[in-house]
Subunit: 202 residues, 2 copies
Protein backbone atom coordinates (compact mmCIF):
# COMPACT_ATOMS: atom_id res chain seq x y z
CA UNK A 1 0.00 0.00 0.00
CA UNK A 2 1.33 3.44 -0.98
CA UNK A 3 1.75 5.87 1.89
CA UNK A 4 3.38 9.24 2.30
CA UNK A 5 3.03 12.91 3.04
CA UNK A 6 3.49 16.33 1.52
CA UNK A 7 5.07 18.34 4.35
CA UNK A 8 5.87 22.04 4.71
CA UNK A 9 7.72 23.85 7.47
CA UNK A 10 6.88 27.49 8.21
CA UNK A 11 9.28 29.31 10.56
CA UNK A 12 7.83 32.79 11.20
CA UNK A 13 11.11 34.68 10.98
CA UNK A 14 13.17 36.46 8.34
CA UNK A 15 15.71 33.63 8.69
CA UNK A 16 13.16 30.98 7.68
CA UNK A 17 15.49 29.54 5.03
CA UNK A 18 18.28 29.13 7.59
CA UNK A 19 15.99 27.37 10.07
CA UNK A 20 14.58 25.04 7.41
CA UNK A 21 18.03 24.13 6.08
CA UNK A 22 19.34 23.66 9.63
CA UNK A 23 16.46 21.34 10.55
CA UNK A 24 16.73 19.19 7.43
CA UNK A 25 19.59 17.13 8.86
CA UNK A 26 17.00 15.68 11.26
CA UNK A 27 15.74 13.68 8.27
CA UNK A 28 19.13 12.02 7.64
CA UNK A 29 18.60 8.91 9.82
CA UNK A 30 15.43 8.13 7.82
CA UNK A 31 16.55 8.79 4.25
CA UNK A 32 17.33 5.14 3.48
CA UNK A 33 13.82 4.14 4.42
CA UNK A 34 11.84 6.81 2.57
CA UNK A 35 11.88 8.81 -0.66
CA UNK A 36 12.30 12.59 -0.32
CA UNK A 37 11.49 15.09 -3.06
CA UNK A 38 11.27 18.88 -2.55
CA UNK A 39 9.72 21.71 -4.54
CA UNK A 40 8.77 25.31 -3.65
CA UNK A 41 5.52 24.29 -1.91
CA UNK A 42 6.32 21.14 0.04
CA UNK A 43 8.53 18.12 0.50
CA UNK A 44 7.17 14.73 -0.49
CA UNK A 45 8.00 11.86 1.85
CA UNK A 46 7.11 8.34 0.70
CA UNK A 47 7.51 5.49 3.14
CA UNK A 48 5.75 3.51 5.87
CA UNK A 49 3.97 5.44 8.64
CA UNK A 50 6.45 4.51 11.39
CA UNK A 51 9.24 6.16 9.37
CA UNK A 52 7.16 9.14 8.14
CA UNK A 53 6.01 10.14 11.60
CA UNK A 54 9.41 9.75 13.26
CA UNK A 55 10.96 11.88 10.49
CA UNK A 56 8.28 14.59 10.72
CA UNK A 57 8.56 14.69 14.50
CA UNK A 58 12.35 15.06 14.46
CA UNK A 59 12.19 17.75 11.73
CA UNK A 60 9.57 19.69 13.70
CA UNK A 61 11.52 19.41 16.98
CA UNK A 62 14.75 20.55 15.29
CA UNK A 63 13.00 23.65 13.90
CA UNK A 64 11.15 24.39 17.14
CA UNK A 65 14.41 24.35 19.10
CA UNK A 66 15.32 27.59 17.28
CA UNK A 67 12.83 29.22 19.66
CA UNK A 68 11.03 30.86 16.72
CA UNK A 69 7.33 30.34 16.08
CA UNK A 70 7.32 27.35 13.70
CA UNK A 71 4.48 25.43 12.09
CA UNK A 72 4.67 22.11 10.27
CA UNK A 73 1.83 21.16 7.96
CA UNK A 74 1.39 17.68 6.49
CA UNK A 75 -1.03 16.20 3.99
CA UNK A 76 -0.83 12.49 4.78
CA UNK A 77 -2.27 9.63 2.76
CA UNK A 78 -2.33 5.86 2.73
CA UNK A 79 -4.05 3.51 0.31
CA UNK A 80 -4.97 6.09 -2.33
CA UNK A 81 -6.35 4.05 -5.26
CA UNK A 82 -4.66 6.46 -7.67
CA UNK A 83 -1.12 5.77 -6.42
CA UNK A 84 0.92 2.64 -7.33
CA UNK A 85 2.11 0.34 -4.58
CA UNK A 86 5.75 0.73 -3.61
CA UNK A 87 7.95 -1.71 -1.71
CA UNK A 88 9.45 1.11 0.37
CA UNK A 89 6.01 1.60 1.99
CA UNK A 90 5.79 -1.95 3.34
CA UNK A 91 4.61 -2.04 6.93
CA UNK A 92 2.78 -4.29 9.35
CA UNK A 93 1.34 -1.28 11.21
CA UNK A 94 -2.13 -1.50 9.71
CA UNK A 95 -2.70 -4.72 11.61
CA UNK A 96 -3.93 -7.15 8.97
CA UNK A 97 -7.57 -8.21 9.23
CA UNK A 98 -9.88 -5.59 10.64
CA UNK A 99 -9.94 -5.76 14.41
CA UNK A 100 -12.76 -4.67 16.72
CA UNK A 101 -12.76 -0.94 17.41
CA UNK A 102 -12.01 -1.40 21.13
CA UNK A 103 -8.85 -3.41 20.40
CA UNK A 104 -7.68 -0.75 17.98
CA UNK A 105 -8.28 2.02 20.52
CA UNK A 106 -6.21 0.07 23.07
CA UNK A 107 -3.38 -0.39 20.56
CA UNK A 108 -3.47 3.32 19.76
CA UNK A 109 -3.26 4.24 23.46
CA UNK A 110 -0.31 1.88 23.85
CA UNK A 111 1.55 3.65 21.04
CA UNK A 112 1.10 7.06 22.66
CA UNK A 113 2.27 5.74 26.05
CA UNK A 114 5.40 4.33 24.43
CA UNK A 115 6.25 7.53 22.52
CA UNK A 116 9.68 9.09 23.14
CA UNK A 117 9.74 12.34 25.12
CA UNK A 118 11.15 15.22 23.04
CA UNK A 119 10.83 17.96 25.69
CA UNK A 120 9.31 20.17 22.97
CA UNK A 121 5.81 21.46 23.67
CA UNK A 122 3.45 21.49 20.73
CA UNK A 123 -0.10 22.42 19.82
CA UNK A 124 -1.68 20.58 16.92
CA UNK A 125 -4.92 20.08 15.08
CA UNK A 126 -5.80 17.46 12.53
CA UNK A 127 -8.63 16.01 10.50
CA UNK A 128 -8.96 12.30 9.69
CA UNK A 129 -10.69 11.39 6.44
CA UNK A 130 -11.78 7.82 5.68
CA UNK A 131 -12.98 7.27 2.12
CA UNK A 132 -14.80 4.61 0.16
CA UNK A 133 -16.88 3.35 3.09
CA UNK A 134 -20.41 4.10 4.26
CA UNK A 135 -19.37 4.08 7.93
CA UNK A 136 -16.64 6.71 7.84
CA UNK A 137 -18.14 8.65 10.74
CA UNK A 138 -18.04 5.54 12.98
CA UNK A 139 -14.30 5.32 12.41
CA UNK A 140 -13.86 9.04 13.06
CA UNK A 141 -15.88 8.94 16.27
CA UNK A 142 -13.86 5.89 17.37
CA UNK A 143 -10.67 7.82 16.75
CA UNK A 144 -11.94 10.84 18.69
CA UNK A 145 -12.79 8.56 21.61
CA UNK A 146 -9.21 7.24 21.58
CA UNK A 147 -7.84 10.79 21.47
CA UNK A 148 -9.92 11.81 24.49
CA UNK A 149 -8.11 9.13 26.51
CA UNK A 150 -4.67 9.74 25.00
CA UNK A 151 -3.40 12.40 27.40
CA UNK A 152 -2.86 14.91 24.58
CA UNK A 153 -6.50 15.69 23.72
CA UNK A 154 -6.85 19.47 23.52
CA UNK A 155 -10.51 19.79 22.65
CA UNK A 156 -12.92 19.46 19.75
CA UNK A 157 -12.89 22.16 17.08
CA UNK A 158 -15.04 22.50 14.03
CA UNK A 159 -13.67 20.23 11.27
CA UNK A 160 -10.72 19.00 13.35
CA UNK A 161 -9.46 17.85 16.75
CA UNK A 162 -6.92 19.72 18.82
CA UNK A 163 -3.95 18.08 20.58
CA UNK A 164 -1.59 19.66 23.13
CA UNK A 165 1.50 18.15 24.65
CA UNK A 166 4.99 16.90 24.09
CA UNK A 167 5.71 16.55 20.37
CA UNK A 168 6.60 12.89 20.89
CA UNK A 169 3.14 12.00 22.17
CA UNK A 170 1.36 14.32 19.72
CA UNK A 171 2.97 12.78 16.62
CA UNK A 172 2.42 9.28 18.06
CA UNK A 173 -1.29 10.04 18.52
CA UNK A 174 -1.67 11.24 14.92
CA UNK A 175 0.26 8.21 13.64
CA UNK A 176 -2.10 5.93 15.56
CA UNK A 177 -5.07 7.78 14.05
CA UNK A 178 -3.78 7.09 10.54
CA UNK A 179 -2.87 3.45 11.20
CA UNK A 180 -5.62 2.17 13.51
CA UNK A 181 -8.76 3.75 12.07
CA UNK A 182 -10.29 3.16 8.67
CA UNK A 183 -10.05 -0.22 6.92
CA UNK A 184 -6.52 -1.74 6.82
CA UNK A 185 -6.57 -1.58 3.01
CA UNK A 186 -8.65 1.60 2.84
CA UNK A 187 -7.93 5.09 1.57
CA UNK A 188 -7.29 7.21 4.66
CA UNK A 189 -5.88 10.75 4.74
CA UNK A 190 -4.97 13.32 7.39
CA UNK A 191 -4.67 17.12 7.26
CA UNK A 192 -2.22 17.94 10.09
CA UNK A 193 -0.95 21.23 11.55
CA UNK A 194 1.60 21.29 14.41
CA UNK A 195 2.77 24.53 16.02
CA UNK A 196 5.49 25.53 18.50
CA UNK A 197 6.41 28.80 20.22
CA UNK A 198 3.26 30.70 19.22
CA UNK A 199 3.14 34.16 20.82
CA UNK A 200 -0.66 33.86 20.97
CA UNK A 201 -1.85 32.44 24.24
CA UNK A 202 -4.39 29.68 23.83
Amino acid sequence: MYSGAQISLYPMTGDFVGIILGALSALDPYRERMQVETDDLSTLLVGPPEVLFAAMRDLFVAAARSGEHCVLHATLSRGCPGEPDDAICYTTEYGGPRQPLEERKAAALGSVSAAPVTSTSSAAQFSLYVMGTDDHMDEIYGCIDFLKQSGVFGGAKNFCTRLDGDAGAVFAAVEAALCRFGPPEGHVTIDLTVSANSPTRR
Copy 2:
Protein backbone atom coordinates in the same frame (compact mmCIF):
# COMPACT_ATOMS: atom_id res chain seq x y z
CA MET B 1 -25.68 22.30 5.05
CA TYR B 2 -22.85 23.37 7.38
CA SER B 3 -19.77 24.72 5.60
CA GLY B 4 -16.64 26.50 6.72
CA ALA B 5 -12.89 26.49 7.06
CA GLN B 6 -10.11 26.57 9.59
CA ILE B 7 -7.59 28.98 8.07
CA SER B 8 -4.06 29.96 9.08
CA LEU B 9 -1.78 32.60 7.64
CA TYR B 10 1.99 32.12 7.85
CA PRO B 11 4.13 35.15 6.92
CA MET B 12 7.78 34.08 6.98
CA THR B 13 9.14 37.20 8.68
CA GLY B 14 9.86 38.42 12.18
CA ASP B 15 6.96 40.86 11.70
CA PHE B 16 4.45 38.05 11.12
CA VAL B 17 2.07 39.42 13.74
CA GLY B 18 2.05 42.85 12.07
CA ILE B 19 1.34 41.36 8.64
CA ILE B 20 -1.46 39.16 9.96
CA LEU B 21 -3.09 42.01 11.88
CA GLY B 22 -2.72 44.31 8.86
CA ALA B 23 -4.33 41.80 6.51
CA LEU B 24 -7.28 41.04 8.79
CA SER B 25 -9.19 44.15 7.66
CA ALA B 26 -9.59 42.37 4.31
CA LEU B 27 -12.18 40.19 6.09
CA ASP B 28 -14.34 43.17 7.11
CA PRO B 29 -16.63 43.22 4.04
CA TYR B 30 -17.57 39.60 4.73
CA ARG B 31 -18.07 39.62 8.50
CA GLU B 32 -21.84 40.02 8.33
CA ARG B 33 -22.12 36.91 6.18
CA MET B 34 -19.87 34.57 8.12
CA GLN B 35 -18.86 33.67 11.67
CA VAL B 36 -15.22 34.29 12.61
CA GLU B 37 -13.50 32.76 15.64
CA THR B 38 -9.74 32.84 16.25
CA ASP B 39 -7.40 30.84 18.48
CA ASP B 40 -3.63 30.31 18.50
CA LEU B 41 -3.72 27.70 15.71
CA SER B 42 -6.27 28.95 13.20
CA THR B 43 -9.29 31.11 12.49
CA LEU B 44 -12.63 29.42 11.99
CA LEU B 45 -14.80 30.83 9.22
CA VAL B 46 -18.39 29.53 8.95
CA GLY B 47 -20.45 30.57 5.98
CA PRO B 48 -21.37 29.65 2.40
CA PRO B 49 -18.53 28.85 -0.04
CA GLU B 50 -18.96 32.02 -2.13
CA VAL B 51 -18.27 34.11 1.01
CA LEU B 52 -15.54 31.85 2.43
CA PHE B 53 -13.47 31.83 -0.75
CA ALA B 54 -13.78 35.56 -1.41
CA ALA B 55 -12.72 36.26 2.18
CA MET B 56 -9.76 33.85 2.05
CA ARG B 57 -8.64 35.25 -1.30
CA ASP B 58 -8.73 38.85 -0.09
CA LEU B 59 -6.92 37.97 3.15
CA PHE B 60 -4.22 36.12 1.22
CA VAL B 61 -3.79 38.94 -1.30
CA ALA B 62 -3.56 41.55 1.47
CA ALA B 63 -0.80 39.56 3.20
CA ALA B 64 1.04 38.80 -0.06
CA ARG B 65 1.18 42.50 -0.94
CA SER B 66 3.63 42.90 1.96
CA GLY B 67 6.15 41.32 -0.41
CA GLU B 68 7.10 38.76 2.24
CA HIS B 69 6.87 35.03 1.65
CA CYS B 70 3.36 34.20 2.92
CA VAL B 71 1.40 30.95 3.01
CA LEU B 72 -2.30 30.49 3.70
CA HIS B 73 -3.52 27.06 4.74
CA ALA B 74 -7.19 26.10 4.90
CA THR B 75 -9.01 22.99 6.07
CA LEU B 76 -12.36 23.31 4.26
CA SER B 77 -15.47 21.24 4.85
CA ARG B 78 -19.06 21.07 3.68
CA GLY B 79 -21.77 18.64 4.70
CA CYS B 80 -19.97 17.04 7.64
CA PRO B 81 -22.55 14.77 9.31
CA GLY B 82 -21.13 15.73 12.71
CA GLU B 83 -21.88 19.46 12.35
CA PRO B 84 -25.33 21.03 12.81
CA ASP B 85 -26.91 22.94 9.93
CA ASP B 86 -26.67 26.72 10.20
CA ALA B 87 -28.73 29.33 8.34
CA ILE B 88 -25.63 31.45 7.72
CA CYS B 89 -24.31 28.69 5.44
CA TYR B 90 -27.30 28.77 3.07
CA THR B 91 -26.24 28.72 -0.57
CA THR B 92 -27.48 27.63 -3.98
CA GLU B 93 -23.93 26.94 -5.16
CA TYR B 94 -24.12 23.16 -4.84
CA GLY B 95 -26.60 23.08 -7.72
CA GLY B 96 -29.53 21.05 -6.40
CA PRO B 97 -30.01 17.63 -7.97
CA ARG B 98 -26.87 15.92 -9.09
CA GLN B 99 -25.96 17.02 -12.60
CA PRO B 100 -23.93 15.04 -15.16
CA LEU B 101 -20.18 15.38 -14.64
CA GLU B 102 -19.67 17.20 -17.98
CA GLU B 103 -22.16 19.94 -17.04
CA ARG B 104 -20.44 20.39 -13.68
CA LYS B 105 -17.03 20.66 -15.33
CA ALA B 106 -18.41 23.35 -17.67
CA ALA B 107 -19.90 25.29 -14.74
CA ALA B 108 -16.57 25.07 -12.90
CA LEU B 109 -14.67 26.39 -15.94
CA GLY B 110 -17.16 29.28 -16.18
CA SER B 111 -16.48 30.25 -12.56
CA VAL B 112 -12.73 30.38 -13.13
CA SER B 113 -13.16 32.50 -16.29
CA ALA B 114 -15.35 34.96 -14.37
CA ALA B 115 -12.93 35.28 -11.42
CA PRO B 116 -11.67 38.76 -10.55
CA VAL B 117 -8.04 39.51 -11.35
CA THR B 118 -6.04 40.30 -8.20
CA SER B 119 -2.65 40.88 -9.88
CA THR B 120 -1.14 38.68 -7.15
CA SER B 121 0.71 35.60 -8.38
CA SER B 122 0.19 32.47 -6.35
CA ALA B 123 1.22 28.83 -6.23
CA ALA B 124 -1.16 26.39 -4.60
CA GLN B 125 -1.74 22.74 -3.96
CA PHE B 126 -4.85 21.05 -2.69
CA SER B 127 -6.47 17.70 -2.07
CA LEU B 128 -10.19 17.06 -2.55
CA TYR B 129 -11.78 14.39 -0.34
CA VAL B 130 -15.25 13.01 -1.03
CA MET B 131 -16.63 10.79 1.71
CA GLY B 132 -19.50 8.40 2.18
CA THR B 133 -19.65 7.24 -1.46
CA ASP B 134 -18.18 4.27 -3.28
CA ASP B 135 -17.31 6.35 -6.37
CA HIS B 136 -15.13 9.00 -4.71
CA MET B 137 -12.28 8.53 -7.18
CA ASP B 138 -14.64 9.20 -10.16
CA GLU B 139 -15.44 12.58 -8.66
CA ILE B 140 -11.78 13.29 -7.98
CA TYR B 141 -10.73 12.34 -11.51
CA GLY B 142 -13.57 14.52 -12.88
CA CYS B 143 -12.29 17.41 -10.83
CA ILE B 144 -8.71 16.87 -12.03
CA ASP B 145 -9.97 16.88 -15.62
CA PHE B 146 -11.65 20.25 -15.00
CA LEU B 147 -8.46 21.61 -13.43
CA LYS B 148 -6.39 20.58 -16.45
CA GLN B 149 -8.59 22.83 -18.61
CA SER B 150 -8.83 25.67 -16.06
CA GLY B 151 -5.78 27.70 -17.09
CA VAL B 152 -4.26 27.42 -13.61
CA PHE B 153 -3.33 23.72 -13.62
CA GLY B 154 0.25 23.45 -12.38
CA GLY B 155 0.75 19.70 -12.53
CA ALA B 156 -0.10 16.53 -10.65
CA LYS B 157 1.72 15.83 -7.41
CA ASN B 158 1.46 12.85 -5.12
CA PHE B 159 -1.63 13.26 -2.91
CA CYS B 160 -2.60 16.68 -4.36
CA THR B 161 -2.89 18.87 -7.45
CA ARG B 162 -0.81 21.96 -8.04
CA LEU B 163 -2.23 25.27 -9.33
CA ASP B 164 -0.29 28.34 -10.49
CA GLY B 165 -1.66 31.71 -11.49
CA ASP B 166 -3.44 34.83 -10.37
CA ALA B 167 -4.88 34.37 -6.88
CA GLY B 168 -8.35 35.27 -8.21
CA ALA B 169 -8.41 32.33 -10.61
CA VAL B 170 -6.67 29.97 -8.19
CA PHE B 171 -9.19 30.52 -5.37
CA ALA B 172 -12.07 30.32 -7.90
CA ALA B 173 -10.77 26.95 -9.13
CA VAL B 174 -10.59 25.54 -5.59
CA GLU B 175 -14.08 26.90 -4.80
CA ALA B 176 -15.42 25.17 -7.91
CA ALA B 177 -13.74 21.94 -6.80
CA LEU B 178 -15.53 22.08 -3.44
CA CYS B 179 -18.92 23.04 -4.90
CA ARG B 180 -19.16 21.09 -8.17
CA PHE B 181 -17.69 17.71 -7.24
CA GLY B 182 -19.04 15.22 -4.75
CA PRO B 183 -22.77 14.81 -4.12
CA PRO B 184 -24.68 18.10 -3.50
CA GLU B 185 -25.56 16.88 0.00
CA GLY B 186 -22.34 14.97 0.52
CA HIS B 187 -19.45 15.36 2.96
CA VAL B 188 -16.65 16.98 0.96
CA THR B 189 -13.42 18.44 2.35
CA ILE B 190 -10.34 20.17 0.97
CA ASP B 191 -6.79 20.53 2.32
CA LEU B 192 -5.50 23.75 0.68
CA THR B 193 -2.11 25.50 0.70
CA VAL B 194 -1.55 28.78 -1.18
CA SER B 195 1.85 30.49 -1.33
CA ALA B 196 3.17 33.86 -2.53
CA ASN B 197 6.66 35.33 -2.86
CA SER B 198 8.57 32.10 -2.24
CA PRO B 199 12.32 32.58 -2.69
CA THR B 200 12.53 29.01 -3.99
CA ARG B 201 12.19 28.80 -7.75
CA ARG B 202 9.76 26.19 -8.87
